[in-house]
């Protein structure tokens, strides 16, 4: 199985955040995400259970194991996308 591209991972990350936390309709960050800009994760207020729900969606999407502190360590959506990309690349290597 080929490793998903950064664009594919980003689409999946944004979709998970949107479906679970309605991110694209959030006026603070939605327009920037639709434009393809990066968004700081600190600007997205999520309770821990919502975050776990997003993590589970991403785990299932990419068949990886992802811990909460790994996600919390990322400062932006692009950082999270890169982290998942690195995990997938590590698995493919």
């Amino acid at each position: 199985m080929s490793t998903p591209t950064t664009a594919t991972i980003r689409r999946a990350v944004v979709a998970a955040f949107d479906e679970i936390a309605g991110l694209l309709s959030n006026p603070e960050v939605g327009p920037a995400l639709i434009r393809g800009d990066d968004v700081p994760l600190a600007g997205i207020e999520l309770d821990s259970l919502t975050r776990f729900e997003i993590i589970m969606r991403l785990e299932e999407e990419f068949a990886i194991e992802l811990d909460d502190d790994e996600v919390l360590a990322q400062t932006s959506v692009a950082g999270l996308v890169a982290h998942i990309g690195a995990r997938l690349a590590g698995r493919a290597a």
Binding site: F52, I55, E59, D67
Partner: protein, 314 residues
């Protein structure tokens, strides 16, 4: 909000206004929200005193203390042979990965004797990550499966015992695993020289491990309270940093094992195990050098992923 008070963890652990973090409730909420079956995990936490508030923990603690008391005389008698067998690689020259080759098998052996059944947890086990707040859903599902397997092993080994005793044996299999593994591993990492090989017998082996595998314990305020000079509001989490004792004299470091109603029940056996290890190392004919000791990514325990050691004959 979490408050860290670094000066005297014992004040936190002894305070009647602070109680354990609600591990069981957190898992139950997570299971409900994510639609996961974490029932074995939640049930296991019902048998772990560290996860139970003051009202519920005394009978569970008594059950575990009873099992430890019953097993301890035989274990103490076997400790010299157990330590000699598992730490034998330190007595002959060669390259050694001491976590999977020495420390983990030694702890597994000790806990199997304590819990009374073959626990059979591999090096990558998630079972003792039960206190982690960071573990993602996929790993929690794997942990749930491992706990179910442990419960099945206990049921096969003790078909005639009740749920409470089975729960206590499960708690024994889970509780001390990473705490003791981390304490032994990180203490060896602190003591072994990194620059050049030195005779093991000449190292500074003290009566208490110099490092702890449990760097902190969280408590939650059940009432507004003053801890030292810091006011803590009801509902706030307070972190008692046990690793502050790593810089204390050896005699004071038994405080690694906590204080108050949740004082670690494994303290006497852990210290006895360390004493046997010290006896063995202080008479070892070999020299050793630590090549690498990367730490495991872990939000609860301080535990080396690997301990790469070069052992030589001087």
């Amino acid at each position: 909000m979490r408050v860290e008070i670094r000066d005297d963890p014992a004040d936190i652990l002894r305070s009647p206004a602070l109680d354990v973090a609600p591990y069981g409730a957190r898992h139950a909420a997570l299971a409900l929200r994510l639609g996961l079956d974490l029932s074995a995990t939640v049930d296991a936490l019902e048998h772990i005193p560290l996860a139970l508030d003051r009202a519920r923990h005394p009978p569970v603690r008594r059950a575990i203390a009873g099992l430890i008391a019953a097993a301890s005389p035989d274990i103490r008698a076997e400790l010299p042979a157990l330590v000699a067998r598992h730490f034998a690689p330190f007595l002959r020259s060669g390259h050694l990965e001491a976590m999977t080759g020495v420390v983990q098998p030694c702890v597994a052996d000790l806990l199997a004797r304590l819990a009374g059944f073959e626990i059979g947890l591999g090096p990558g086990t998630l079972v003792s990550r039960i206190f982690s707040q960071a573990l993602g859903p996929a790993r929690r599902r794997r942990m749930e499966d491992e706990i179910r397997e442990l419960r099945a092993r206990i049921a096969r080994a003790f078909p005639a015992t009740g749920e409470d005793e089975r729960g206590a044996r499960l708690a024994l299999a889970i509780l001390g695993h990473d705490a003791l593994t981390g304490t032994l591993g990180s203490s060896l990492a602190a003591l072994l020289p990194r620059d050049a090989p030195r005779p093991l017998a000449g190292l500074d082996w003290e009566a208490t491990p110099p490092r702890t595998g449990v760097p902190y314990i969280d408590r939650v305020a059940v009432a507004d309270v003053q801890i030292g000079s810091r006011p803590v509001d009801r509902g706030e989490t307070v972190r008692a940093r046990l690793d502050v004792y790593e810089h204390a004299p050896a005699a004071a470091r038994s405080a690694f094992f906590g204080a108050g109603t949740h004082l670690c029940l494994g303290r006497p056996l852990s210290l006895d195990l360390w004493a046997e290890l010290v006896r063995l190392m202080a008479a070892a004919p070999t020299a050793a050098r630590l090549l690498a000791a990367p730490m495991r990514h872990d939000d609860v325990f301080h535990i080396p992923e690997r301990l790469e050691v070069e052992v030589s004959l001087p």
